[in-house]
Each structure stands twice: as C-alpha cells, then as structure tokens.
Amino acid sequence: MLELDKLVKLVGDGIEAVVTALGLGPTWVTLVQLIVAALVVVVFAALVVLFLVWWERKVSARFQMRLGPMRVGWHGTIQTIADALKLLQKELITPANVDRGIYFWAPVVTFVAAMAVYVTVPFGKGLIVRDLNIGILYILSITTFTVIGLLMAGWSSNNKYALLGGFRSAAQVVSYEVPMALAIVAVVMLTQTLSMGEIVSQQAKFYQWYIWRQPLGFLIYLVAATAECNRTPFDLPEADSELVAGFVTEYSGMKFAMFFLAEFLNMFTVAAIATTLFFGGWNGPFLPSWMWFLIKTLAGVFVLMWFRWTYPRLRVDQLMSFAWKFLLPLAFINIVLTGLGIYIFRP
C-alpha cells in the first residue's frame, strides 16, 4: 500500500550515508535529518494552508448558496496561489509612530509558533518529526507563543482597534487555555503518557478511541480549541463589525498573510490534536495511515468551518463568563469523573 514510512526511512538512511561519507559525526546526521524533516513539514503546512483557504471559500459559498471562486483553475483551485502572489507583491506598510521592532517581529512570532507545533504531530505511521515524550505538553506550551505574537501586534500598531484586539485575544486565550488543558489532562490520565505516538498506538481499534471514554472531554476541547484559534463564535479579537480587523488592522501584504497563514495552521493543528487524542490518530482500515489522518483532520476542520458560517459571535463578557463559569467547572467535573472511572475499573 501507499505507506510512506518506508520512504521516510529510506531518505533518512540516505542522508545518514551521505553525511557520514562526508566525514561528519552522528550529531550532524541528526541535524541534517531534522532540517530536511522541517523543510518537508514547512512545505506540507504551506500546501495545507493553500488547500484550506480554497476549501473554506468553497464551503462558505455552499453554505451561502453561491459558487465561490470559479475562474482561476478548475473550480477556482489555484485561486489561493493567485491571491498569495498578489499579497507577495503588496507594499509592506509601516504606519507612523509604530514600535518598529515589535511591529516587525509580531507576525514572525505568531507564524513560527503556529509552525513549531508540527514537530510532534503524528501525520501517519512513522511520519512524525520527533515523537517527544512530552508531546502534548510541548504543543500546549508552544501555542502560547501565538498569543504573545498577537499581543505584540496589537500593542505595537499604535491603533486603538488593534490594541483592543490584542487585549481580547490575550484574555480569551488565557481563559480558554485552562479548560482546554484540563480536557487534555483527562485524556492523559487514561493514556498514562504524553507522547503523541504512544497515544495513537493505544487507539488501534475503533472501540478504543478515546472519544468513547471522554465524550465530555471532547466537547470541552472542541469549544475551547475553537476559541483558541479565534474562530466564530469566538472570533472576537478580529471582530470585523466592532474592531475593524482587530490586531491585524495595520498590517498589509506578506505580514498580514503570515497572520492569516497562522490562523489556518492553528485550525489544522486543533483538528489534528483532536484526531490524535480522541479519534485514533492515523489508525484505520484499508487506506494508508496518512490518508486516514488527513480525512479525520479535515473532517474536524470542516466542523470548525461549519461553526463559522452558521453562528453569530459572542460578546466579550459572555465569552469570559462562559469560559470561567461554565466550561472550567465542567472540565473539573470531567477530571473527577475520569479519576473515579480509573479508580473503579482499573485494578
């Protein structure tokens, strides 16, 4: 079948042979292997974003009874590439009185944080850059940098709307990170490991998926994760009817595109984590593992798009009280229930 793990091994061995032939030590072998893997992941992420942007436009069009992009390529498939080329050509405007250094670095930080997550996402059998033994904790911690980037953008833009957008994103992400982490903790209590690869291999059979043992945890995760990646109904940091464009108000061209890319990458990440933790990761019959992973993850992304094109937006205080007064107690209840379940059903 079309499994890719053989290919990956082949390439890895090839690199090892070449680097060793050049007379360099094993550290260099690992380094070169990691660099190649990182490049592959970056290219993959770029392709994912290209696809997701096109798909989002098509999905939204269907929800709204229109066609969406149709002109560039078959059903507008290469529309996104055209848009990306347009964005590349645009002037990078730096408004007066912005904090130049921070203004420049904000999109970089956001984008790199969104990208760094992919180090430990299991894309398929043998397709994981580094199966860190703190995998899920690593993802949780590295995503916090996204918010730092948003805050930097909001603060440095010298714009009230951007500043308010920055406030909102910080408050929102700090609030929703807690129930999200607690929902993940409940799963980790069952898996007894933080490693993403291990978690996937525990869910080999359909009935072993953690969604069956953690339905509440999955719902909490889904809601909190939607808030984490600033999607409707939690898209307050960039609520266009209130804050124009929130923290990206002053950005243009490729800097804007980097925020945009980060948003779509985050959406994919959220769905990928949901797939790994709750839906058996790349496990599945007949099809190659990476295809199963993609199918499950894109289904998750579709749910997020469904939310976006159906729901109105919450208000700031409603958002906060929902997180602290409803979601957080629910997450604690879930943890207590999980603990009780482990205590009763496990020797």
């Binding site: 250094g101 904790l137 910080a170 933080l194």
Partner: protein, 185 residues
C-alpha cells in the same frame, strides 16, 4: 568544543543579553518582551539538561501565563507603556553594593556546593514520576504554595479595588467646538 557546549554557550549568551536588555530597556513593554526571551532561553537550557518536561512547564507557565499577565498589566496600566522610564534611581552605590554582595553569596555557594554527578540513566517520562511525587511525598508543600498563590491573587484584587475613590474626569469630556465659541462671542 562539542555541539552541546556550543548550544549551551549560545543559549547562555542569549539569556544574559536578554536579561541585560530587560533591565536597561527604556520602554517597559520592551522589557517584558526581552524577559520572555530570557525565560525561553532558560527553557532551552532545561532541554540541554535532558529535562524536557521542565522545559515545557517553564514555557507554559512563565511564557504562557506569567509573562502574558505582565504584558496585560502593562497594557492596562494607564500611560505606563507610552513613556520611557529610567530604571535607575538615586541610590546607585547602595544598589551596586547589595547586588555585588548577592553575587558574592551566589558565587560562594556555587563554589562550595559539591555537585554530585549521577551515573543513572535518564528516567523516561519524568512527568509521571513528578506527578506521583507531587501528590504523595510533596503534597503539603504543593498545597501551601497553592494557598499562597491564592492569597496573592485575592490580595491583588483587594489592592486594585478602591471603593472610596471616586473618579473625577480630568477635563471636560467634549470641549466646545471652536466655531461654537466664536459664535457665542
């Protein structure tokens, strides 16, 4: 020099440079950003020490929560972010004395401590062991620290809330338009 040492010195340089910028930067928001950089560098040191769990916790707690709250406080505090602030005050000699004293103490203790080098292999999945220890052997310190933090939290709310102070608007909210003043004579 092997790669590990190289990485260590690079990280150490990053941390120290960032730390110096934290103290000398005139803009307090910049200080906060440099602090995040320094804390992130410390996480890198943890990774070099093969303590990835600690590194992740460092990033999650210091970068994700503590620094973010600091930035939040800076952004919400009136006008503090607009201004350039002097970080030194009139008592430079005293400060120098105190910090030199502190440095001497640290160096002395570093010198005196016999750092035992364990030959045991690194435990896999330190998270589980840490969790067990926190909830069994070190349950009491863990709880005490939690209560302390809770106290700090409530204290902050109490300090921030000033019931008796009534806010007076500094200037008239909307000044009369120039044209209107002219007409009014």
């Amino acid at each position: 020099m092997d790669t590990i040492s190289l990485a260590f010195y690079a990280l150490a340089f990053l941390i120290i440079a960032a730390a110096i910028f934290v103290v000398t930067s005139k803009n307090i928001f910049h200080s906060a950003i440099y602090l995040i950089l320094a804390l992130f560098g410390v996480a890198g040191i943890y990774v070099l020490l093969q303590a990835p769990f600690l590194a992740a916790a460092q990033v999650l707690i210091y970068v994700g929560a503590v620094s973010m709250l600091m930035i939040f406080a800076i952004m919400l505090t009136a006008r503090i972010a607009d201004q350039t602030i002097r970080h030194t005050n009139e008592q430079v000699p005293t400060g120098l004395l105190v910090s030199l004293g502190l440095l001497a103490v640290i160096v002395y203790s570093l010198w005196q401590t016999p750092f035992a080098i364990s030959s045991d292999p690194m435990p896999e999945g330190a998270g589980g062991t840490l969790g067990k220890l926190l909830l069994t052997q070190f349950a009491l310190p863990f709880e005490i620290v939690s209560v302390l933090l809770l106290g700090a939290l409530i204290g902050a709310v109490v300090i921030a809330k000033k019931d008796s102070v009534r806010r007076e608007p500094e200037a008239p909210m909307t000044p009369l338009p120039k044209s209107a003043e002219k007409v009014a004579g």
